[in-house]
Symmetry: C2
Subunit: 311 residues, 2 copies
C-alpha cells in the first residue's frame, strides 16, 4: 500500500467522522429535526453520503455532505487546475451549508477536502459566515476561533487565509462580499511549505493536521452564535430581508463558486451539490433598504473588514 493510499484513507476517515460529529451536534441544537440520509453512487467512480434537514426548528434547511469520488476529469477542465498532471483524479471531503429559519442566525458554509490529480495531492477548504443582520460580536467570535486554530500551526495562516476568503467569496457584479468571511485555502500541499526552515513541519502531514484542527474548530466557531440568536423574535419584514439576502447567496454559488462548478462539471449528484441553495428566496427589483434601518446598516457588513483589529 503506497503512502498516497494511506493518506487518502486517513483523510476519508477523518472527513466521514467529522460529518457524524457535526450532524449529531446540529440535531441536538435543532431539537426537533433529524437528518435524512441519502447514500449515492457516482457513475464515473465513487459516491457519497448526503444528509439533509428540512423544516427544523432552528434550521430551515441544512445539508452536510460527505463524498469520495474518483475517475477521469474532462481534459479542458483538468488543464485549468494549477497542480497535478493528467486527468485522473481522486477527491474526498465534507461540505456543509446551514440555512437557519431565524433571520438573526447567520447562514454558514464549510468545506474541507483532499484532492489528487495524477501524482499530486493537496488539501483545500475553509469556512465562512453569512449573517443577515449586523452583529459585530458574532463576526468577531467566528474569526477569533478560526484565528486561534490557525495560530497553533503558523502565524501567517490566519491573515493569509482570511484575505483569500475575502477575495474568493466576493460577488463581483454586486461589488459586495458574500458575508463576513472566515478563512479559505486551496492547493495546500508539501510543495508549498518551506519545511526546511521549521523542523517538525513534515509537508503534507502537517497540512493534514492543520485541516483536522480547522475542521474541529467549525462547531466552536458557529454553534455559540446560533445558540444565542435562535430564540430572538423577528418580524415578517426581517424574514423578507433574509429572503432577499439569500438571493445573493444563490448568485454567488451559481455564478462564481468553483466547488459548485467542479461538482456540476464532473457530473456529481446534482441534489447533493445544490443542497447549498437556500429553501426560500426572493428577488425584488432594485431593492434598497430605508436609510437608518438595520437593513441599511447591514450593508457595511458586506465589505471585507479587519474584524480582530490585527491587520
Amino acid at each position: 500500500m503506497s503512502s498516497e493510499t494511506v493518506l487518502r484513507e486517513r483523510a476519508r476517515d477523518f472527513f466521514a467522522g467529522l460529518q457524524d460529529q457535526i450532524c449529531a451536534e446540529l440535531e441536538r441544537l435543532d431539537g426537533k429535526a433529524s437528518f435524512r440520509e441519502d447514500l449515492w453512487q457516482r457513475e464515473g467512480g465513487g459516491g457519497g453520503r448526503t444528509r439533509v434537514i428540512e423544516d427544523g426548528s432552528v434550521f430551515e434547511k441544512a445539508g452536510v455532505n460527505f463524498s469520495e469520488v474518483h475517475g477521469q476529469l474532462d481534459e479542458a477542465f483538468a488543464n485549468r487546475m494549477p497542480i497535478g498532471d493528467g486527468t485522473q483524479f481522486f477527491a474526498c471531503g465534507i461540505s456543509l451549508v446551514l440555512h437557519p429559519l431565524n433571520p438573526f442566525v447567520p447562514t454558514v458554509h464549510a468545506n474541507f477536502r483532499y484532492l489528487e490529480r495524477g501524482s499530486s495531492g493537496w488539501f483545500g477548504g475553509g469556512t465562512d459566515l453569512t449573517p443577515y443582520y449586523p452583529f459585530i460580536e458574532d463576526a468577531v467570535h467566528f474569526h477569533q476561533t478560526l484565528k486561534q486554530a490557525c495560530d497553533r500551526f503558523d502565524p501567517s495562516y490566519y491573515p493569509r487565509f482570511k484575505k483569500a476568503c475575502d477575495e474568493y467569496f466576493f460577488i463581483k457584479h454586486r461589488d459586495e462580499a458574500r458575508g463576513v468571511g472566515g478563512i479559505f485555502f486551496d492547493y495546500l500541499t508539501d510543495e508549498r511549505i518551506d519545511s526546511a526552515k521549521q523542523p517538525g513541519r513534515q509537508g503534507i502531514e502537517f497540512i493534514f493536521q492543520f485541516v483536522k484542527e480547522i475542521g474541529l474548530a467549525f462547531l466552536p466557531a458557529y454553534l455559540p452564535i446560533a445558540e444565542r440568536r435562535k430564540d430572538e423574535a423577528y418580524t415578517e419584514a426581517e424574514r423578507a430581508f433574509q429572503m432577499i439576502r439569500r438571493g445573493r447567496y444563490v448568485e454567488f454559488n451559481l455564478v462564481y463558486d468553483r466547488g459548485t462548478h467542479f461538482g456540476l462539471e464532473t457530473r456529481g449528484r446534482t441534489e447533493s451539490i445544490l443542497m447549498s441553495l437556500p429553501p426560500v428566496v426572493r428577488w425584488v427589483y432594485d431593492y434598497q433598504p430605508e436609510p437608518g434601518t438595520r437593513e441599511a446598516a447591514a450593508r457595511d457588513f458586506f465589505h471585507p473588514r479587519d474584524w480582530l483589529g490585527t491587520e
Copy 2:
C-alpha cells in the same frame, strides 16, 4: 453617415418601439399594475431603459428592458465570440422575462438584439416558453405562431431555430429542458445567407426584416395563453410547485445563460440583467412529485418535443 450607422439606428428605433408596444399590452392585460421605468447609463458607454412590474394582478414580476451599449470588450471575452474582430462593440436590443403569479400561466422570455464587433454586425435572439403545468395546446399555439412568422421568410428557419432553442435552453445538470422551447438564433448576418440562390434576400436587411417579424409575433404567441389561464383557480400546493420549478429557471440563467454572463462581464447594470430572476423561489432537497399527479406529468414537458408534428 455609414450604412452601419443607419442599421444601428433603425434597429435601435425598432427595439425601443417594440418595448413601448409590449409594455402597453402587458399593462392592459394585467389591469392593475403599471411599469416602473428606470433610465440608466453604463459607465463604459451607452445605457438603457428598464421597465418593471412587481405584484401585479397577472404578473408577480415582469421586466422589459431596452438597452443600447457600446465600448470595449474584455479581450479574453471578445476572443470567445465566433464573429467579428477586435474588442470594440455595439449592442442594442430588447430583453423581457415575465413571471406570472398564477402557476397555470407560463413564464416567458424574449430577447432580440443587434450586435457589432469590429467590422461585423449580426442579429440574435428568440423567445421561449416555460410553463409549470402541462397544457399541450399552449405549447402548440406558441410554436405555431412562431412557425408561421418564420415560414414567411424561409421554411428552414423554424426547424433550425426550434432545434437551436431546444439545445440552448437545456439544463445539463438536471438533464431537463428549461421549458417547452420556442425559437433561438444567433450570429445571423449577411455572411450566413445564401442570397445568390433567392433573389430579393438582401443580406442583413433580410435578417432585420425577419427579426422585426418575430419581434412583432411575440405578443400574438404569448398573450392568448396568458388570457385564457390567468383566472384559473389554483391551490397552495400548485403555487409551491411553481416556486420549485422557478428554481430551475434561476439555475439556467445563472449557470448557463450567455446573455446573463455577457451582461455581468461587460459590467452592465446588474439590476437590469437580473430582473430575469423570479420573485419567489423554493429549493426543496430532492423534490419528487407524487406519481400520477399533474406535477409528475409536467416532467414529460421538460424534454425537447416535436410540438407541431412537423419534425
